[in-house]
């Protein structure tokens, strides 16, 4: 699912597939997002970084490849075209090369990269991620589905175990991507960084300059929207 650099959402760059092997989810989502970037991936980063500092070109390209998707998607939230987003990513890496000694390992490499990228994207951005008044938003579930006492009148149907079977991996991925595309940029950025890119809440707050409270609100809205999209696709509402 590639995108054109001109019309349409510049954001969507993930192909319409799901990973074939399901990740195990620990019981809370915050631990889950940390687990998503495996210990191996973080180790790889450390080794590649060492080689990069020694001037290894292949290590550089491998690092770029490992983080490219996360960086491009984040950049796309700040600028108006994919071409500009790609430039922001390249500029970020150039900045990284020039200041490679400055990474002190206080955060993960990914968090550090994304923080630099956001700085660049903000100065480049024609379309600044607009401050959506955190106060106004649709309810997580349509009010009409509750009775006057606040209890479900139109409760959720059961689809949890057979979502993939019923829709297929490609259609599911497509639904998720479509829902992400429709989100306001900051909301999309929060959900993407947390639930796709494996940053924890502190890291997302640092990268996007958000308070914990705002991050939670945006995450709640984003996840609620994604759930609604899946529910609609599975014929539940």
């Amino acid at each position: 699912m590639t995108i054109s650099g001109t019309a349409g959402a510049p954001w969507s760059c993930a192909p319409a597939v799901l990973r074939p092997v399901p990740w195990e989810m620990p019981s809370t989502a915050s631990r889950a997002s940390r687990d998503r970037r495996t210990v191996k991936a973080v180790d790889d980063d450390a080794r590649l970084l060492e080689r990069l500092r020694a001037g290894d070109e292949a290590a550089f390209v491998a690092l770029v490849a490992a983080h490219h998707d996360a960086m491009l998607r984040l950049a796309s939230n700040f600028v108006s075209s994919r071409a500009v987003a790609e430039e922001v990513v390249q500029d970020t890496w150039l900045g990284v090369l020039r200041g490679i000694d400055r990474f002190e390992g206080r955060s993960t490499l990914r968090t550090w990269l994304l923080a630099i990228l956001v700085n660049r994207a903000r100065t480049t951005g024609v379309r600044e991620a607009r401050s959506i008044a955190v106060g106004d938003a649709a309810p997580a579930v349509d009010r009409a589905r509750f009775d006057a006492a606040g209890a479900w009148s139109s409760p959720p149907e059961h689809w949890v175990e057979d979502a993939e079977e019923r829709l297929g991996a490609a259609a599911l991925a497509s639904q998720i991507n479509a829902a992400l595309e429709q989100m306001p940029p900051r909301q999309r950025a929060v959900v993407t960084l947390r639930d796709i890119d494996g940053l924890d809440s502190d890291e997302v707050c640092a990268v996007l300059s958000l308070s914990q409270a705002n991050q939670r609100v945006l995450l709640h809205r984003g996840r609620s929207q994604l759930r609604r999209a899946l529910e609609t696709a599975l014929g539940g509402s």
């Binding site: 799901l18 990973r19 550089f60 979502a163």
Partner: protein
Amino acid sequence: MLLRGRPMVCQEVVELVSDYLEGALPRGERRRLERHLAGCPHCTEYLAQMRETIRLTGRLVPGDFTPQMREEFTELFRRWREDEDEPL
């Protein structure tokens, strides 16, 4: 003797599940939510759907790092090396 908070209703629960999964609910609220879940199959279903949504989202495959991208960044690296090596 424990004072119980006002029972939570379903419409409130759906606004709190994300914070619940984050471990961000104050203890009293968390207890009220869990008490509600214990007696409400619908909200229990909703929570399961939220978890599944997060799980499926996490399974999106990243976009391909194409040969063209590989070339562009190799170029970038080489240009940087040249600039570094130039006498000041």
